[in-house]
Symmetry: C2
């Protein structure tokens, strides 16, 4: 067995995590609690939205033809037949030469096809002087103009943002079928790792990775379960991974993912299942493991928190998206590099950058530095086929 | 009293909501539960991070000087004194001409100032052949290089993303002082509004706004409390607003915000406190109210969900950020317009756009159409001083 990792390209690693994603469980949830959940079924309009021709302004419902040629100097004069009550089942009707007052959101009376804004009309006794012509349909949303009964308004796989929640409410989806948030177990390994509450002694560091990975999977709509810190002993890891597999849909193990003699993650995964990938052509993040144990995905993350985070974003995100039957959502922006970024052909580099008014400045910290995580706004990906990027080049920044 | 709204500029409306934001309450929370909460106090490093000179690779800890001139042809030969255990309190020492194996994350022994990657060295018996020179500090993170004891690592007001959670963990902040999520009451008004579970009859529409506003304030780190649907009757609204004020830090009332005779929101706010703004020079969203009642902010939103949402993004976001003692976080991107957008001078227009590969296409739906919310990716703001934007112009898109 080689002492070194046999790396696979990033694309292959992504393929692997997608392939091993277990199928999602689904269930129905109250719409009010479904923010950021993934729709498991299409949501369709049960009725025409709106269900009637609806005024978008406060004004007078008219037959547009009656206002032809109206002006400040020569207004059209229409008889006002009264006011349309909001939510009333019958908005009444108008006949040529007449109108009715309609508030914003009110239903148009029969015979009306447009609304004159109150700002462009003047009520004098029972008559309304209209100072501007309106076109048919002006200031009106027609029945079914927003959605027709039966239209799919939200497709399954969509993540419910506030706007989707509002639209689902409008079509009566008080409960929705959503993907049950996958449960993701989180294990930290390493003799040097101590709990966050403890002050590290010489040679020790705190368990930042559990927090980082836990918050990341929460952000991606999953539920983290923490299995604590395990020493670099094969049996201890096997035990922890076993109980994580009992309770979770997937497990993330940070540390112990390289090929040093203290690195047990790959061996333990192999015992319980299969190692599919050990080593990815990515920097930082090369010592990453992708495997399955008892049919569930197990990912070995690098021990350095900053490297681990890049692997979470570049690889694990695809696993979690596949487990939720949705796609990876990334905010990106285009910016120009303020410096050259050298890179090695054959390896996909993820360089942290800070952004300032359309310019991206690479942060060339050592990959293990945590401060680069909070000083950067995102990552620039340098494809494996490239030897680097040049100052002034326009790049796509994956925002954290 | 004028029949029409006396509008104020958007900037003035934002100033007003910032001014009336009540001071936040604070409390401490477990770091694991603090995702997306706002830090109420700076977080500082309690110790140097790392607390020791730390290897970033698997390899041999050396005195860099011992590797000067090393090459494949003429390697440097160093005596290997053994292996450094992870988390051991004493990494030992080396003397000139010797080295120790150190795994990733291990502490450097005394006398070492660099690490040769295992890939560039060869162990033969007790000797290590080094094939490449290393510079002092290479493959090492020095003690305190990430953070020095006492450094502020996260500033108060920052919103805790997964990366900040990880950094806080590394400096031992197992609990953090955070701003207690403000409680925001949500009321829908209108005789035509029916609960989402009901099929609307003629002239009726479902209460999308409660869901839209509730999800929006949740996304912005606040807790919504729903006070249902109130008819267009002054007493009913006064009662609902009163009980919302009892329980909440701020209240959003949608509908009834214009000047039609059925519009009671402004009058009810005036009874219980003060109306500061009634009408904003914004489109959509003109009929918006900003006021206080019993010293708490009350915002009257337009009844059209799509208009209400623009006001939530353009105005209410500033209120919620001020209540959380943080700033408004906006994702934006630059894109080129595929069409002209006409606009009216003196009014700030927010035009929904869809984005496709750096090009922004305005969606010229009527402002009341819900489908524009889910078909668009964000808003282009056209300043009040502008008469419109031209095709090909580069604009900033506020992503939803």
């Amino acid at each position: 067995m080689s002492l070194f990792l046999e790396v696979v390209p990033v694309s292959e690693a992504i393929e692997a995590v997608r392939r091993i994603a277990p199928p999602p469980r689904c269930g129905d949830a109250p719409l009010k609690d479904a923010l950021y959940q993934v729709l498991a079924e299409d949501v369709s309009a049960d009725i025409d939205i709106p269900g009637f021709d609806r005024s978008t302004v406060d004004g007078y419902a008219v037959a547009a033809a009656d206002t032809a040629g109206a002006s400040e100097a020569i207004p059209a004069m229409l008889r006002c037949l009264g006011r349309i009550g909001m939510g009333s089942t019958d908005p009444g009707s108008i006949f040529p030469g007449s109108c009715r007052y309609v508030p914003t959101g009110g239903a148009l009376p029969e015979g009306a096809d447009a609304v004159v804004m109150i700002e462009h009309a003047e009520l004098i006794g029972d008559d309304v002087l209209v100072h501007r012509p309106v076109a048919p349909g002006e200031n009106v949303v027609s029945r079914g103009e927003d959605f027709r009964a039966g239209d799919v308004v939200l497709e399954r796989g969509c993540v419910l943002s506030p706007r989707e929640i509002g639209v689902a409410a409008a079509v009566g989806a008080e409960r929705v079928q959503v993907v049950t948030p996958p449960v993701v177990g989180i294990i930290s390994t390493g003799n040097e790792i101590v709990p966050v509450a403890r002050v590290p002694g010489p040679g020790e560091v705190r368990d930042a990775n559990s927090y980082l990975a836990g918050a990341f999977v929460t952000e991606r709509g999953c539920c983290p379960v923490y299995f604590g810190i395990v020493r670099d002993e094969r049996e201890a890891l096997e035990q922890a991974l076993s109980s994580a597999l009992d309770q979770c849909d997937a497990v993330l193990v940070s540390g112990g993912s390289s090929k040093d003699e203290r690195d047990n993650t790959a061996a333990v995964i192999a015992d319980l299942g299969e190692v599919l990938v050990h080593g990815i052509a990515i920097a930082p993040g090369k010592p990453t493991i992708i495997g399955t144990a008892r049919g569930k995905p197990v990912i070995g993350l690098p021990g350095h928190p900053a490297s681990a985070y890049v692997v979470l974003v570049a690889i694990v995100d695809h696993l979690l998206a596949a487990m939720r039957k949705t796609r990876v959502f990334r905010r990106t922006l285009r910016a120009r590099l303020t410096q050259n970024i050298p890179s090695t052909r054959g390896r996909e580099d993820y360089v942290r950058v800070s952004i300032d008014g359309g310019r991206a400045t690479p942060i060339f910290g050592k990959s293990g530095l945590l401060n680069t995580l909070v000083q950067s706004e995102g990552l620039v990906r340098i494809p494996a086929s490239s030897e680097g990027l040049e100052v002034g080049e326009e790049v796509e920044v994956i925002l954290w």
